[in-house]
Symmetry: C2
Subunit: 255 residues, 2 copies
């Protein structure tokens, strides 16, 4: 692999450049991209030019840069997220049609939840998730569900590490977290009032594939006495997705 | 840019390797990836190792390789497809709930339609599209809508080039295509019975942003006398998405 003076490869620099975009950002200037990825402007410019020829980046008339359609296509077409998402969409849509609030699908990546999908109602409550966005495990309903079914050693490392307090209700004490995780394994779902935002509540349930938890389905809705009534509906959606993952639908011809 | 003996950069090789995955494929062996991307196995292995450390590729215990979650995340989080998709989802879902067949969103890329989204009913008719899949412009309803609103020189180049005949009803004659395109601009939608498959029909309508056609909404349903009745519903969904693109919804807090 060709390496630069400090031992870093061109490929690693290109990866860092592409990963410099934050959720929701579209156009960035070359200088911002160079600064965020720790590259000289000249180096960043050369990489940007080459990635532009492949359609992985796109340039505006003012020379600012965004991620290109071909990068999206390459990443989307064969990835394992696509099959999970395709299995999940019909139950997610049915759940969203009932709850009429944010409905989302998240997976465990590192020590966070990564959200693969979010369906929203225009008038839904505040929500901190985004497609391809991330949240802490201990403070989000999806994260707690994924943590409850993670390997014990991983659970211990998260439980014993520093945890951010987002509201007065965020569970940060070890004993409280252990109780929540045990409850999730017993009940098959979790209700999280005000853990991330004082006025919102989350409900999540696990999606299984071959006896392993592959994802979490969750809804985010206004915190109220009635919010918890949606727990069975969230469990049902998760269970439908689990069934679709185990027996993918046939009879549809795709090329 | 570091270049190999034949003048090709490491970055270009990595792009080719990642783009070697075809729609719907998950795990590929190193030798298949090397062959498809025209690389020596040793070169492919080195690139795969480096991309694996960044989470852009993932390795199975049998050493086969798939696209990684981090690549999907990087591509999904900031791309322009995400804002288009977010604006499109509620009307697409509403349309799919009515038609109960495949409902999709496509954009023009090169001389093809690239599909950004597809919602399906489990018992829906045959369909040749996939998320991140592509179709010819002249034979698909989405493609014809995008072509009808493309720059005239581009339209001429597509009309005068070779066109594949998928069924006896695929429009391949220049005069027929010109008539279809003129009809689309007048009617605001198109009905395509049997163009791609003898038993299926497509209906599509254009999505506008700032007086430019940005995408096409389409449904694929069984070919029948009643199929065309859905044309107004498809036009309505396209028009709702156009309005949402011009005035993005406010009041939702995202971090």
């Amino acid at each position: 692999m060709a390496r630069t003076q400090n031992g870093e490869s061109v490929l690693t620099r290109a990866v860092r450049l592409i990963e410099a975009f934050e959720p929701g950002e579209e156009w960035l200037s070359v200088s911002v991209l160079a600064r965020r990825s720790g590259l000289h402007v000249a180096t960043a410019s050369r990489l940007i030019s080459e990635l532009t020829t492949h359609g992985w980046l796109e340039r505006n008339s003012d020379r600012s840069v965004r991620l290109g359609l071909r990068l999206w296509e390459a990443a989307a077409r064969a990835s394992s997220t696509l099959s999970l998402r395709e299995a999940a969409m019909p139950p997610l849509e049915a759940l969203q049609a009932q709850v009429r609030q944010h409905t989302q699908l998240g997976v465990l990546d590192g020590e966070e939840v990564l959200f693969l999908e979010r369906l929203s109602a225009p008038d839904a409550v505040v929500n901190f998730t985004r497609i391809a966005g991330r949240l802490s495990l201990h403070a989000s309903s999806s994260g707690l569900v994924l943590l409850a079914h993670a390997p014990p050693a991983f659970q211990e490392s998260v439980i014993s590490s520093h945890r951010e307090r987002f509201t007065t209700d965020t569970p940060v004490q070890e004993s409280h977290l252990r109780e929540i995780l045990a409850n999730i394994r017993r009940r098959g779902s979790v209700y999280c009032p005000g853990y991330l935002h004082p006025e919102a509540a989350g409900i999540a349930a696990p999606v299984f594939q071959d006896d392993t938890v592959r994802a979490a389905v969750s809804v985010v809705l206004p915190r109220s006495e009635r919010a918890q009534q949606w727990e069975p509906a969230v469990r049902m959606a998760a269970s439908l997705i689990s069934r679709r993952l185990s027996a993918p639908p046939n009879g549809v011809i795709n090329q």
